[in-house]
């Protein structure tokens, strides 16, 4: 699902965020990407979203080579994945329903499909009764679940959660992780990016540790597989 081939990313000003990173995350995996601040986690996410481009090397997502991808194709790349940001990034003027529906509207989907899908996804994250609220009127944990619902609504094959436990209390963190596990159980690849070692270890899943821009350890490196070939773009 995600392949980093000898990826180096330098920012202007001489900040070497990632150095010769090789990693492979297969379809259906549940992976923690662990690291302190400055380890290169944010850059890792930005490269997958193609917010940034590699300095050298190659990033493949779902068979698409991001280094050769045209700018106007980027929105379509982002529709293949769902991202739950640390700060949730909900639109404060839109209701919970609209925030989730919005991610579907972007893909030109018909209104009647949207009317079925949005309540269903809100139900999955346990927010069916808060659809009309504004983000400010619900708790942090609930806001995060709205963000998750938004990430899920267009049925992506990949969910990336950026510090999912950063802005909410420990009990809610566990609930969030359970939700992510449930999502993974239906075959969706889940990548959790975090700095919390304890959280990562608790679930017994694969942990890729980044340190100063390099892969310091990988508990279960994925072997090279045929299905990671570059798909026609």
């Amino acid at each position: 699902m995600i392949v980093f081939e000898d990826v180096t990313k330098d920012y202007k000003g001489g900040n070497h965020a990632l150095k010769h990173v090789n990693l492979r995350i297969r379809k259906g995996d549940f992976v923690f990407v662990l690291g302190h601040s400055g380890a290169g986690k944010s850059t890792f996410i930005k490269l997958i979203l193609r917010e940034e481009q590699v300095t050298s090397g190659r990033v493949l997502v779902d068979g698409l080579d991001l280094s050769t991808m045209k700018k106007r194709k980027v929105p379509y790349l982002r529709r293949r994945m769902g991202v739950v940001f640390q700060d949730f990034r909900l639109i404060p003027t839109m209701s919970v329903y609209e925030n989730v529906a919005f991610a579907m509207r972007v893909t030109n989907i018909a209104e009647d499909k949207l009317k079925k899908r949005v309540p269903y996804v809100l139900g999955l994250v346990g927010l069916a009764d808060k659809a009309d609220r504004l983000p400010d009127e619900i708790s942090g944990g609930e806001q995060q679940r709205v963000a998750l619902a938004r990430a899920l609504v267009h049925s992506p094959q990949l969910i990336i959660a950026d510090e999912p436990t950063g802005n909410i209390d420990p009990k809610l963190s566990l609930e969030m992780m359970e939700l992510l596990k449930a999502i993974n159980s239906v075959g969706i690849t889940v990548v959790v990016v975090t700095h919390e070692v304890a959280l990562a270890k608790r679930f017994g899943k694969r942990i890729i540790t980044l340190d100063h821009g390099v892969v310091a350890s990988d508990t279960a490196p994925a072997p090279m597989e045929d299905d990671e070939e570059v798909a026609a773009q």
């Binding site: 979203l49 917010e51 106007r72 929105p75 379509y76 790349l77 982002r78 529709r79 991202v83 940001f85 990034r89 909900l90 639109i91 003027t93 919005f102 991610a103 509207r105 972007v106 893909t107 030109n108 018909a110 209104e111 938004r150 267009h154």
Partner: protein
């Protein structure tokens, strides 16, 4: 774009217009003010132009004829003048008519002129109006060439004054309109930039969930053009209303300038379609250009 998306985004744009009421009002206010100034400058210049043109038309060139021309010679001159290109009006004034005119001017001394009845010293003449005062010198030369023409008297000094005024007013008017238009573009794009800046987070989020640039732009575009349309309508209404008032007041004016201004001010009927059309087009263009330029920066995510 699908019809449902188009409808949704257009609705969203109009919703934003209402949701960001204060900003929308500020934009509309600024744009309306600029359009007002532009419109007033344009109308003023157009009317001064029309006035100068009117006054210019009042300046006749007089073509004096030789005395004692036969009827055939007179007919020939008449034909030459009337078929000459570049003349707007040709009027014949006979010797007798000239004498009568002078008698009229000096009615108290009318008796003195009686002697002239027998031996009229005046020259019969043609009063001609030139289509284009710029051609005055060439026309004079041409007229003097005609057989039977004694002399040509033209208001060369006066006409050059009129031409200068006309040119100055036209240039100044256009310069003023151009400057005000530029100011409007800058101010409006700054105002829209503020709106966009206030919503940069929203735009950012849209980018992350996979919105295309067109999808993000459309509501802003709708917002910008709506601001332009509303401002255009408002400004056109105000300018045309005020202009109608002015025309009315001037029409009712008495004295020397009243009738002159009354006859050469552009009528409201002539003015309103141009003002309305220009304002709407101008407003929409500025609104959309302002949006397009101010949003670009935030689409680079």
């Amino acid at each position: 774009m699908k019809w449902s998306s188009f409808r949704y985004l257009t609705k969203q744009g109009l919703h934003n217009l209402r949701a960001n009421r204060l900003m929308s009002l500020a934009s509309i206010g600024v744009l309306t003010a600029c359009l007002l100034l532009t419109g007033i400058a344009g109308l003023f210049s157009a009317n001064v132009n029309s006035l100068v043109e009117y006054l210019g038309d009042q300046n006749e060139t007089v073509v004096y004829l030789d005395q004692g021309l036969s009827d055939e010679q007179l007919a020939s001159v008449d034909q030459t003048l009337r078929s000459m290109p570049g003349l707007a009006a040709v009027t014949y004034v006979s010797q007798e008519e000239v004498l009568e005119t002078y008698k009229g001017y000096m009615s108290e001394y009318a008796d003195l002129f009686n002697d002239f009845e027998e031996d009229n010293p005046f020259h019969a003449n043609y009063r001609v109006v030139l289509e284009d005062l710029n051609q005055l010198d060439e026309m004079i030369a041409q007229l003097e060439q005609i057989d039977g023409v004694y002399s040509v008297s033209a208001p060369t000094q006066l006409s050059s004054v009129f031409l200068t005024i006309q040119r100055a007013v036209t240039y100044a008017g256009w310069a003023l309109v151009a400057v005000l238009a530029l100011v409007s573009v800058v101010v409006i794009s700054n105002t829209i930039r503020l709106t966009v800046f206030a919503r940069r987070k929203e735009i950012n989020i849209m980018k992350y969930v996979g919105a295309t640039n067109g999808f993000i732009r459309w509501p802003f575009f709708v917002e910008g053009t709506s601001v332009g349309l509303i401002s255009g309508l408002l400004a056109a209404g105000l300018v045309i209303g005020a202009y109608a008032l002015v025309v009315n007041k001037v029409g009712a004016m008495s004295g020397f300038w009243g009738p002159i201004l009354g006859s050469c001010l552009l009528s409201v009927g002539q003015v309103w379609p141009i003002v309305l059309g220009a304002f709407l087009i101008f407003g929409v263009i500025i609104g959309s250009i302002g949006t397009a330029t101010s949003i670009r920066k935030y689409l680079e995510v």
